[in-house]
Symmetry: D2
Subunit: 386 residues, 4 copies
């Protein structure tokens, strides 16, 4: 596993967790792939996964983990127990320059070289790259987003306007390093027409985008209930409170906008475009990484009767995200081994804005994921035998 | 449709609603069978359904409807608009004695005769009987519950301890009148070993039991989410507040017990027996028929992290139930026409405690229902052609 | 009583309610001045209050009331029962031009003349003017707001930038018609330095501003609890959902801004300026006039322990406001009879942003109000005797 | 300070907290007596308070504190920092026999001797005894509860039915050791007619009963708001979820009954006896000491309008209680120094069921407490000067 944003909360939690799983210090609670429905699917063992990554920050990983522990997000004794493993991972993390110089092609090449070196150094069958970096503001549209040749030209022009870092990392992974890739954030990444076919061409599986962890998960679980029972949802309002690094990032109106669009997409897809969906994310520093989300749903039932549902969800977002990231690494590894290429629609289970799929209903996604995993496992065995 | 408890809130709401649907005064909001997934399935039209039933009370139906309207549960203008239809239904309602005399066999025969007369008077293809009467206390176990011959003997013995009224109505419908039957309450009905094969023997389809309308619906929607994501639910506590007739009925500790057992069954089935599930139903007369339910879920996520979810659901229970009752009548009519007999597992979608099925996960039930309806429609066409 | 905004939801509800109280069709629920603590305080009887007012709309009052009834806010039978009284009030309502012509002095004079005519026509001892019109956007600061002479000059200059309508009405009431006045909205009204002494000079009592009806009421009840117990409130976040006319008005970012500032003032005053207080008001048309507000409070207790409180308040805002408006009319009448002039600090009980007072703690305000009413009643008796 | 139940959660938290305050490791957050309104009132400094007590358990205090820390209730580093102080307190704790032998008089004498020894050993001006032991079931009424002579006889009769331990401790403190006393639990303690005058006779101040920490605090803050605004509260339902030792204790139906009665007393006193107040306390072990309480209030407003308020309160009950216990020790010390004897009505601020007072409204209690403290401080200075 190669994390973009390897010292952030999600990656740090995933790294600590993976170490704890490998050493048998934690049970695989919160992992989908540890469930009974995946019995017999040949996924990489926790102990076989090695972690590396990029970050613009160079605080030692064990320091990051201790900060999370002091905020109540991780058990302090666990962090100390796996500190040696965290130090080992530190040696595999590479610093990204905050203001890169040279052409963007050079930057992509440097990132890809880091990934390839990591693969060779550890003799790995493959490296799955997962972007868990801070949410970027979405850039305004540009002509090169729609034209592959123009985009390639831009990469070679040192004076051109730069692409978002998430896009450079995605190209580095998929095209330059031939690595399976998942985008766990709402940043631009591969989300432009000019890059749509990149993964299939490069022969690797990819998955995205924007992890479906808390409030949105809940919404895509609940909305199909209203639809199935023929109730007409009139409005679905949401208020999100969070502090921590993510709260601060989302205090930037540009970044929050990417998030809000992504969060409401599933709702409109499931319930129609007429539903009124006011949604706010507020940075409340004193709450730290504990995210609290209140939703208020107003539906019309039989004979104009009023139905209301309120939900309050409270959880540490990073500990919701971390096991999904490990799930994704295991499943993309399976997919790559089975020769799957391009966007994997069935991995939409993990995302607010699924690539290659317009299914948002969670139960359906869960069914699709399980049967895909079984099919892919069979296909992989066949490939290995052949 | 023949309602047991025809002047209660659910039946009155369903009767008003059906009249409004037949006259085009209301849209089929809240009905599952009006959804796009049922397009092409040949269900009886709303205008073709005729309502009759039994009750121990003889207040005119229009009076019952006006009381519901004054409590805010039905639009007053709608009640007035369909008043002539309600008066017509009144002529098809038959009074049940509160303390019946003679043998229980006689009582069953009288009830069945009422159903048969109704069928003949209106020239109906079939009568679907639906029990929506007040919840009865569950009786203690008795030897005749386990032995069909002993049960038959009891029916003929005027001195024997009487069976619950729900059981007499169920036998009257299924065995004596040959009518498809659904039990929408948690009362005993056919729920004893000695009656298990009655429906199949009688050649009619049956469905039950205890309508899944509000809080339990929500629970069977949400619980599979926790299971799929590998989160360990530790406790799921519930508080229900309601007034109205149902609140008063459930103030009886015997009746509430049937309900509580039924409400928690799905949760334990979906999440395991270790989940702590305190549950209360309080009679709060001032709330009228507006039911408010608060649930608090505590789950353990990755690395022992604490996840909590609270839900507050508020709705008129009878307007949630009424469209389901109409759905059931339409679907049991379809099933009967297609020659289906015995408990229909796929109608478990409508119930807290599904007969013939241990599937509680709502999304799975919804999928199963739709594909069953399509299969049954095909089977019915084939039967008609043949 | 003379309402500015006499056909709006609050005034219509107050007018219907006053008629119902006068005819004995409703109990004085929701009125502070009907409580036992006001026994013996000589306030005007409900039957002695006569209603008139201004509005830019000319829909008959009974029509407005029926619309509110159809939205569930008023009992329909009550509206019909008092329809003749509403028609009588209609004859005392005067239309305000949406785009007035001539000098602002002329406009003030026209409004004052309407008030004086009303007083004389009905032979009233006094007219209390209450502004319950829609919230206006707050204007940017202007030099004349700080200089009385400049302000007077502006009033006489037909080409000058116009003052908000709420300010013109307030001057009309207080200075031109010599009428006690209350501002129940967050609009500008008398809230500029140049008008600060207007009421005292004019010899009438005034009170303001912005009715404390729901969420803010709750906040000023709860915040003193945290303070008294030495708990440190870190954040107090709020989400407000409402539709109806008020929801639409507050969808205007200018108008909502006046409201948000006003809503948070009490919180900062009670808990300090460091409290983080994100607050949103969303227009959710399907909710109609039923306002739902969710608050999330995070406090630090002994030894850094985390305390959270969530509140969800749901009520029709206009039926919360209407009895307060009647209370204010009665109390300002008392004050005027006792010779009180200028802003009445003790009427701050009714407002988010009290004039003449920085007390926000509700219980203290309630104590102050009761003892002020007793003192003022004594003073009035003395004045009458003399 | 002498704790009855000195190794329980509340006493352990208070002891850790007092040590932390004395060493300047914690700020006095959550203490009422540290607020600005108590400036100038001569209360004992935190460093001058010495802790001793009784318990039936002999687990070392530092062990109890570590368990609380591992449950998230106390910061682990704080426990370690004050461990030496906890060990010192351990030396001042005395074991109570679970099944005492001999007469009850002997048992009282033994407890009083422990208290006197503690006072002399440390050269203390006075010892304030505070009962924070587990809630006992309330005993059925007995003749000796109403007759002081009969009660005295019972104390000397080794064969008599025993009084609750809380009552023995209270007599030991007040009558035998002459120590000021507070009862922080709903147990019997001094709550029988025969003991009503004991404190006044003994010349010490006493205060009780049943600490007002969370949900009840909130209720006595909110209920006066409804009353002041003339809203008619129809029902106030509550659901309490908690684990930990307190959850287990309250799983005993006898113990929970004492608590429920106590919790609803204030509500009926403030809002009238007609309010419907269903209330449940459930033992949910997985929640540990984090208590979550949901309240649902239904009120009628102007013109029969429906108002609902829901509150969800979540906090560690022991960290709410501990600072109040320290406040009580300081204030009873002040009272004793000023010569106050008998039940101190103004300390009702701290209790669900105030001795010597029927004031439940929290804001009024807060005002009364502050002015009492100021008066008592003045009286004490005068006493010292004299």
């Amino acid at each position: 596993m190669w994390f973009v944003g390897a010292r952030g909360s999600v990656a740090t939690t995933a790294t600590v967790g993976l170490a704890a799983l490998a050493e048998g210090l934690a049970a695989p609670v919160g992992l989908t792939t540890a469930g009974p429905e995946f019995d017999g699917v040949a996924l990489p063992a926790f102990g076989d996964l090695v972690v590396g990554g990029h970050d613009v920050d160079d605080t030692p990983l064990v320091e990051r983990a201790r900060r999370l522990a002091s905020g109540g997000m991780l058990p302090a004794r666990l962090v100390e127990a796996v500190a040696p493993r965290l130090d080992a991972v530190d040696a595999d993390l590479r610093l990204l320059p905050r203001t890169p110089r040279g052409t963007q092609r050079d930057e992509i090449e440097r990132r890809a070289a880091d990934i390839r070196d990591f693969r060779e150094r550890h003799g790995l069958a493959r490296v799955v790259v997962i972007d868990v970096a801070s949410t970027e503001p979405l850039p305004a549209d540009r002509p090169e987003f729609h034209d592959r040749a123009a985009l390639e030209a831009v990469l070679d022009d040192p004076a051109s306007e730069r692409l978002p870092s998430s896009t450079l990392s995605a190209i580095a992974a998929v095209a330059a390093a031939g690595a399976p890739y998942a985008c766990f954030t709402p940043s631009l990444s591969l989300g432009i027409p000019a890059l749509q076919d990149l993964a299939a061409e490069s022969g690797v599986p990819v998955a995205g985008q924007d992890g479906k962890t808390g409030e949105t998960l809940l919404r895509t679980v609940l909305a199909p209930m209203f639809a199935s029972r023929g109730m007409r949802v009139l409005s679905w309002a949401g208020a999100n409170l969070l502090g921590g690094g993510d709260g601060a990032t989302l205090a930037d109106p540009g970044a929050v906008q990417s998030k809000l669009v992504s969060k409401n997409r599933g709702l409109h897809d499931l319930l129609g475009d007429d539903v009124v969906t006011p949604l706010h994310i507020d940075n409340v520093p004193d709450l730290g990484d504990l995210k609290t989300a209140w939703d208020h749903v107003h539906a019309e039932g039989f004979l104009d009767t009023r139905i209301t549902l309120q939900t309050t969800w409270s959880a540490y977002d990073s500990t919701l995200a971390a096991p999904l990231v490990i799930d994704l690494a295991r499943l993309l590894s399976l997919a790559d081994g089975a020769g799957v290429t391009g966007p994997v629609a069935e991995l939409g289970y993990f995302f607010k804005d699924p690539w290659g799929s317009d299914v948002h209903a969670f139960a359906r996604q869960a069914d699709d994921l399980v049967s895909w995993a079984l099919r892919t496992a069979v296909r992989r065995s066949a490939a290995q035998v052949a």
